[in-house]
């Protein structure tokens, strides 16, 4: 690992100031992804600003503003605490399931909510510094485009990058229309809807998100919703635990009788960002909650997929996973 200066930040303002002053500095929170990438020589910060002592871990009901009645998760709260908090388990079980589908018990105890959102792709060409990768070294090419791309994107990729975003938590947040609260150098807070937080690779795959250097995720806000009764996070992977998704589906339904009033579907493991299946959602509104309708919606969404050489299986897998996740959601999200 390359040498770096280490600073324990005293408060959010000084942490942000330190980061803003140095374009090669990084925040250190849980460290589960960043330290691994530093060991691999993928990330090469010359300074780490340890923000793990700043607090910002509270989980509470939002009492004012646009998301009143929803809940707020501290940006530096641990994934384990978010997953197991009574408010989250009761009102946002989809989020609990998504967090618990990710990583291992140890890693969830370390990883923070904000850090989870900013983790990098696990594309092996990104991780292996002897390989070309436009995300790691812009302009060097994409090793995966013509290489082994079984785990890669089927939606929204570009010739420059076919990597997928690995978070499970973010997939649930996309389905739940979460809002990311960040604090910038001038001390101001601003809110970024999750749909605007992530981006597709395009010509700048080195950028995972639209968050500028120097801003700190202070909280994640979840608007109030009526999905708690009927939601489910399905994760399909090569082994049954502790593996990244081939395809994952966050599904949530609000029904009246057997009619769907509102549907939310987001996919993981298929794109450079959590993939909101808006086409499928729109097809379901006003329809009966039946397997036949679930299948129609799923195939409408997956019809737009553009698989690579080794991942055509993800299209059918996505189809079936959407249907299964909707059925599980309809049945109350119980395993």
């Amino acid at each position: 690992m390359r040498p770096f200066a280490y600073t324990r930040a005293k408060d959010a303002a000084s942490a942000i100031k330190l980061l803003t002053e140095n374009p090669n500095a990084k925040f250190l929170a849980g460290g589960t992804n960043l330290l691994d990438l530093m060991k691999e020589d993928v990330e090469r910060p010359n300074a780490l600003i340890d923000i793990s002592g700043l607090g910002l871990s509270e989980i509470k009901t939002i009492t004012t503003g646009a998301n009143q009645g929803g809940i707020s998760l501290g940006g530096l709260g641990k994934n384990t605490e978010a997953a197991n908090h009574p408010l989250v388990r009761q009102q946002y079980p989809l989020l609990t399931q998504a967090i618990l589908a990710g990583a291992s018990g140890q890693i969830r105890n370390m990883a923070t909510n904000g850090g989870n959102l900013l983790q990098r792709t696990r594309c092996p060409y990104f991780y292996e510094v002897s390989m070309p990768c436009n995300k790691r070294v812009p302009g060097s090419g994409c090793g995966a485009r013509e290489g082994i791309n079984r785990m890669h994107a089927i939606f929204g990729w570009s010739e420059q990058c076919v990597a997928v975003f690995p978070s499970d938590l973010a997939v649930a947040l996309a389905a739940l229309d979460a809002v990311i609260t960040v604090r910038s150098a001038n001390g101001q807070q601003r809110s970024i809807p999750i749909a605007e937080f992530y981006r597709l690779p395009g010509d700048e795959p080195q950028k995972d998100t639209n968050l500028p250097h120097g801003e700190l995720i202070t909280a994640i806000e979840l608007p109030k919703n009526r999905f708690a009764e009927k939601s489910y996070y399905l994760k399909v992977r090569d082994r049954s635990s502790y593996a990244f998704a081939l395809v994952s589906v966050a599904a949530a339904l609000e029904t009246e009788g057997n009619t769907i009033k509102q549907a939310r579907i987001a996919l993981g493991g298929v794109a450079h960002k959590p993939w909101r299946a808006l086409k499928a959602e729109q097809m379901l509104v006003g329809k009966e909650a039946t397997e036949a309708n679930f299948k129609l919606a799923a195939s409408a969404e997956m019809a737009d997929a553009k698989p690579l050489a080794h991942n055509a299986f993800k299209v059918e897998l996505g189809n079936r996973s959407i249907v299964l996740a909707l059925q599980m959601a309809l049945n109350g999200g119980k395993v």
């Binding site: 280490y6 589960t32 330290l35 691994d36 060991k39 388990r89 291992s104 370390m110 635990s241």
Partner: protein, 260 residues
């Protein structure tokens, strides 16, 4: 062989064992030491090595860690030195480390606590699992610098003198290992898991996460899911699950090697 009899040890062997480790004999017999393990001990004893090793182990486990850092480490030579004060197994330590130093390397290279193992060094195997402020974490992905004021518990800190932690006893009883390399991490992970279950934490296989009650009794499926961060290349998983289930439930679980 009658199941209740001591396993395949001659009276002479038992006597030798009793001489070498008087306090441990009954315990080891009860938890089912096998002949292979015993013979290994005998081989060591033959060269007088066992006694020496025990003395060294005793020293490592009991000495107060107030001695200076091992020679050859001059804080001034560190490029980005960080001072850290933290507790390991109840003992306070003040160390000066390179900012890059992980908790794992600090434990192993600076504090001579080599129980925690470096398996993959990338957070994929769980062999380095330790308990920090009550939570199981990966010491290979934790900087020592970030542990200021924290309390670390390692495999060396689980036993009370010669009295093993119930989880250690259960791993012995159920033969929850073969080569043993992943075992310290498995046991630390399992010990912290007991607390998580006591707090009612859910897992991805929990039937209904909305139903948050108190302490949960873990099924085998739950234990497997919750221990998935600890890889065992020898494949001792069924025995590891037996050991954890026995401690978690408080009810004896049959030893596989006795039932086959």
């Amino acid at each position: 062989m009658d199941e209740n009899e001591l396993p395949e040890l001659t009276e002479d062997e038992k006597q030798l064992f009793a001489d070498l480790m008087p306090e441990d004999l009954t315990e080891i017999m009860d938890t089912g030491v096998n002949r292979r393990h015993f013979l290994k001990l005998l081989t060591l004893a033959g060269g007088g090595l066992l006694a020496a090793q025990s003395a060294a182990a005793e020293h490592v486990l009991t000495r107060p860690f107030q001695e200076p850092a091992p020679s050859g480490i001059d804080p001034a030579s560190l490029e980005n030195a960080v001072n850290v004060t933290f507790k390991v197994n109840g003992m306070a330590h003040k160390v000066t480390v390179d900012s890059r130093m992980t908790v794992l390397d600090t434990l192993r290279e600076r504090l001579n606590l080599t129980g925690s193992k470096k398996g993959c060094d990338h957070g994929q195997c769980g062999a380095c699992t330790v308990i920090v402020n009550g939570s199981r974490v990966l010491s290979c992905l934790t900087l020592a610098a970030s542990c200021e004021g924290k309390s670390v518990q390692t495999i060396e800190g689980l036993a009370q003198g010669n009295r093993l932690h119930p989880m250690q006893e259960a791993f012995l009883k159920h033969d929850g290992f073969q080569c043993g390399f992943c075992t310290p991490g498995q046991i630390c992970s399992a010990v912290a898991l007991l607390d998580e279950a006591k707090k009612g934490y859910a897992s991805y296989v929990t039937a209904n996460v909305r139903q948050s009650a108190g302490p949960v009794l873990l099924s085998r499926e739950e234990i497997r899911e919750r221990m998935s961060g600890n890889i065992c290349r020898c494949g001792a998983y069924p025995n590891i699950v037996d050991a954890i289930q026995e401690v978690q439930s408080g009810k004896p679980v049959e030893q596989v090697f006795r039932s086959v």
